[in-house]
């Protein structure tokens, strides 16, 4: 895979380069500022962009803005956004176009190398990966509202994992269920929330996130 990497901290940029190269990916550009990132994305049209939210020169949300702008130019351009902190506001903006191929993770997650590389693959393949912290906060905010309050604790666990972007198989493995049990839970959840069930993992994630964000069309 051809990767564009944007990160201003040299240590982390080198680390990411090393990690992704070791997994057989081709780093076509490793940049350290917003304008450079925009240029690199336009020039290389990579398979995925791994982007830090806060970049020079302004050290505001340059990276995120550049990534969102690039996705408007190249719809569906896979973008994995990394940050020192995760914000629901930014998560919303990333999933807003409904095209998938987005990821939003805490920088800490890089330390679990396998999971991080998995996330890169999922996003590059058009999937959606959300940091568990985003999901936890989304669930906490909606916890007392109908119909989320009707879910059983098990169903809530499954919902959280769906929202993070995990497949049925991954959820089954993680919760030590059979895959059949997971799909039974998921169909219960979709029925309770009034969402149309979908076998497509990506559409499913987006539906769940939109639901939790309270942005689903009524």
């Amino acid at each position: 895979m051809r990767v564009v990497l944007a990160e201003d901290l040299v240590l982390l940029r080198d680390g990411l380069e090393l990690l992704l190269s070791a997994h057989g990916h081709d780093i076509v550009a490793a940049v350290e500022s917003g304008p450079e990132l925009s240029a690199a994305l336009a020039e290389h049209r990579p398979d995925i962009a791994v982007v830090d939210v806060r970049l020079p020169p302004t050290y505001s949300d340059e990276g995120l803005q550049a990534a969102l702008a690039a996705r408007r130019e190249q719809p569906g351009l896979p973008v994995l956004v990394l940050s020192q902190h995760v914000e629901q506001l930014y998560a919303r903006e990333l999933i807003a176009d409904g095209a998938g191929g987005v990821g939003y993770l805490l920088k800490d997650r890089v330390s679990k190398a396998d999971q991080f590389v998995d996330a890169v693959h999922t996003v590059a393949a058009g999937g959606t990966v959300m940091d568990p912290q985003v999901i936890t906060r989304l669930l906490a905010r909606n916890a007392y509202d109908e119909p989320l309050a009707m879910l059983t604790p098990r169903e809530r666990d499954v919902l959280a994992m769906m929202a993070e972007g995990r497949s049925n198989a991954a959820i089954a493995q993680r919760l030590h269920f059979s895959e059949g049990a997971v799909s039974k839970h998921t169909s219960n959840i979709f029925a309770k929330l009034g969402l149309g069930a979908s076998d497509d993992d990506n559409r499913r994630v987006l539906a769940v996130l939109a639901y939790l964000n309270g942005t689903r069309p009524e």
């Binding site: 806060r54 505001s60 020192q84 902190h85 914000e87 506001l89 930014y90 330390s111 906060r137």
Partner: protein, 438 residues
């Protein structure tokens, strides 16, 4: 909504109200005149005969009259007059039991107190400005108030001429009082009514010119206020730094020490007990993750990331998504305020929303941010059960303190049963035409 008729009726009502108030001022002229004479007499008594104890008593009476005039100016003429008096100094007692008035020592407490009071009143320029006002106000203030009242009254009198048996004073001098009276009345009554509003305002301005603070006393007040705010802000800042230091010390720092210890212990284990070594490394990583989480929380408490990255409106939008409450945010800010101002407003709104959840049991809240006439205004309203006490919570006092640094104010309405509304206003300038996205 407003038709020309209703506007005309409204204007007439306003003019009549102003005229009524001026009539009250006019009727009070004799009272003012009597007070002025009494003041002159008492002045002669303390200066000429040395009846010094009369001075504070007289001053108290004068100040009561001046206070009433300030009230009327603010409430009737819409010209607020700030109170200019120097605050009463406290009597100090030395170690040896003497009382220090700021000028001399006295053995007797009562006498020292009296000396201090005399000095305080005598040296306050406002005392003499009050006195000056008392002496000339029956003439000037009274004249301003009486003009429209007399014009209108005389005009009405003129209108009544045809039905009166005898021509009234003044009207009798003119030929044809039966015709001229009403004609003159038709001019004088509207003129009096038209003058009433401006005269009321002018009366207020006159009151302020003598009873308001001079530039010097205004500055003195301001210095006092700023000194207090500075002390508060410095204390709050020191407390904040102590909290951060403690959090770092007990949190991230301690965890990194633990990580370092574990990594030190793992080296000999790698060969001897690889399984155990893996376990130790996993533990160490867990500790690092926790340390990072604690640092993130700490940063959020110091300067929230979205606020830093995108400014106030977006920062509050991000905050709204994080509280367990449905929050609607409406923001119309045509630019960004200074970072410390943004920070103060952000934390004030954050505190208000936290209170809404914690004490108010609210389910919905709205936050409105606007900027007009150099005033940044944030309003937080919730549907909780109300009953918030502005004096009670340390949280509210904290908000007040944060805002006071920028001359900001906090208004709270929270009747039992709700809703609670918190309005924060602070003067500030927004920079650059960078529009905040909505």
């Amino acid at each position: 909504m407003s038709t020309p008729q209703s506007r005309g009726a409204e204007a007439l009502r306003t003019a009549l109200r102003a005229l009524g108030r001026l009539a009250v001022f006019t009727l009070l002229i004799p009272v003012g005149a009597v007070l002025a004479v009494l003041f002159l007499v008492s002045f002669l008594l303390w200066v000429g005969v040395g009846m010094v104890p009369l001075f504070p008593v007289t001053t108290r009476v004068v100040r009561s009259a001046a206070t009433a005039a300030r009230w009327a100016s603010g409430h009737w003429s819409q010209v607020p007059v700030p109170v200019p008096y120097v605050p009463r100094p406290a009597l100090e007692r030395t170690l040896h039991g003497w009382f220090w008035t700021g000028h001399d020592y006295h053995k007797n407490r009562w006498f020292a107190g009296f000396a201090l009071k005399l000095r305080w009143l005598w040296n306050d320029p406002a005392t003499w400005r009050d006195a000056g006002w008392l002496l000339v106000d029956p003439l000037i203030g009274g004249g301003i108030a009486a003009t429209p009242v007399l014009l209108t009254g005389y005009g009405l009198y003129g209108l009544a001429q045809p039905v009166l048996p005898e021509p009234g004073p003044g009207y009798g001098l003119l030929p044809l009082p039966g015709l001229l009276g009403p004609l003159l009345g038709l001019v004088l009554v509207p003129a009096g009514l038209a003058l009433a509003g401006p005269a009321l305002h002018l009366h207020g301005r006159w009151t302020r010119s003598l009873l308001g603070p001079t530039e010097r006393s205004r500055l003195a007040h301001r210095v006092e206020q700023l000194t207090e705010i500075r002390l508060d802000a410095t204390e709050a800042q020191a407390a904040e730094l102590r909290r951060i230091e403690r959090d770092l010390h007990d949190g991230a720092q301690a965890r990194l020490v633990a990580v370092s210890l574990r990594l030190g212990a793992v080296v000999p284990l790698i060969d001897r007990d690889p399984e155990k070594a893996k376990q130790v490394v996993t533990d160490a990583q867990e500790n690092v993750t926790q340390a990072l989480q604690e640092l993130r929380d700490l940063v959020r408490g110091i300067h929230p990331p979205v606020l830093a990255e995108r400014g106030l409106a977006e920062g509050i939008r991000a905050l709204a998504l994080d509280v367990p409450l449905k929050v609607e945010v409406r923001a119309e800010l045509p630019g960004r305020a200074e970072a410390p101002v943004e920070s103060a407003v952000y934390f004030a709104v954050s505190e208000a929303l936290t209170n809404a959840v914690k004490h108010g049991d609210a389910r919905h809240a709205t936050v409105e941010l606007t900027h007009a006439a150099g005033l940044l205004r944030a309003e937080v309203a919730d549907d909780g059960r109300g009953g918030a006490d502005p004096e009670g919570g340390s949280g509210l006092r904290g908000i007040q303190r944060r805002l006071a640094v920028f001359d900001g104010t906090l208004t709270l309405t929270s009747p039992p049963g709700g809703p609670t509304r918190l309005i924060m206003e602070l003067p500030c300038v927004l920079s650059s035409p960078r529009t905040s996205s909505c």
